[in-house]
């Protein structure tokens, strides 16, 4: 099945990004395709390569990048939400791209299921 995911909260502040990641991983393990994750609201902060968690903590940003690389997941950051919050091409982590809200609409029309994680 073709699954889309929406993440509305930033990393470390809220559990949403962790829940979304663990859901995505489980879906892929079960043989489903997670074709797109759309990051909106503070969720755009998941794409900052400047993020540096303490050594003993999970690296939420790298985890998403790795998922994108290994399973061809399209990680899309909303441009309007990103610009508001200082996320730009120059600080974008690997595997993420910045695009418009149309990509979220497309995630809705082209996915068999769309699952939202937020506050």
């Amino acid at each position: 099945m073709k699954l889309g995911i929406v993440v509305n909260e930033g990393p470390y502040q809220h559990q949403a990004s962790d829940s979304a990641y663990l859901f995505a991983k489980a879906a892929i393990e079960a043989g489903h395709e997670v074709w797109r994750v759309f990051f909106y609201h503070d969720g755009v902060n998941n794409a900052s390569k400047l993020t540096e968690p303490p050594q003993d903590d999970r690296n939420i940003v790298n985890r998403w990048s790795k998922l994108a690389e290994e399973h061809k997941v399209d990680l899309v950051v909303c441009v309007a939400a990103a610009l508001r919050r200082g996320i730009r091409e120059e600080n974008l982590a690997t595997g993420f791209r910045i695009s418009g809200l149309g990509q979220l609409v497309e995630a809705g029309t082209k996915s068999d299921r769309l699952v939202t994680f937020g506050d």
Partner: protein, 121 residues
């Protein structure tokens, strides 16, 4: 985009305290621009988004409430409000800045069942 789906946006959050209501409205406009079948549901504190007379000068924030009145121009005409949420907040339909359809919770549930995609922020 050829495939048209029924999108419902469920609004449960009040405006200004957080940005969700404003950024949700941006998605609504884009979804309508992509010719999807759009409806908006306002329930719980989400009904406050539609209160008449919002004056935001004092908080130095853009008053985005006129946008709800402009939705018609984007062919977004299906605005629904949960009656119980209005009542709980001491509001009536007359307090709202735009024409809506007021529904009972059972009617809201039935409408949700008809959707293809339900988004909430």
């Amino acid at each position: 985009m050829s495939d048209v789906k029924k999108f419902m946006f469920v609004n449960r959050k009040a405006p200004y305290g957080t940005i969700y209501a404003l950024e949700s409205l941006e998605v609504v406009l884009i979804t309508a621009a992509f010719d999807q079948d759009v409806s908006l549901m306002f329930t719980d504190d989400g009904v406050y988004q539609l209160k008449k007379g919002q004056q935001t000068k004092g908080i130095e924030t853009k008053n985005f409430s006129p946008t709800y009145r402009a939705l018609e121009g984007y062919d977004v005409e299906k605005l629904y409000v949960d009656q119980e949420s209005l009542q709980e907040r001491g509001l009536t339909e007359d307090d709202l800045l735009v024409d809506v359809t007021v529904l009972s919770r059972a009617e809201v549930g039935a409408l949700m069942d008809e959707q293809d995609v339900i988004l909430s922020f």
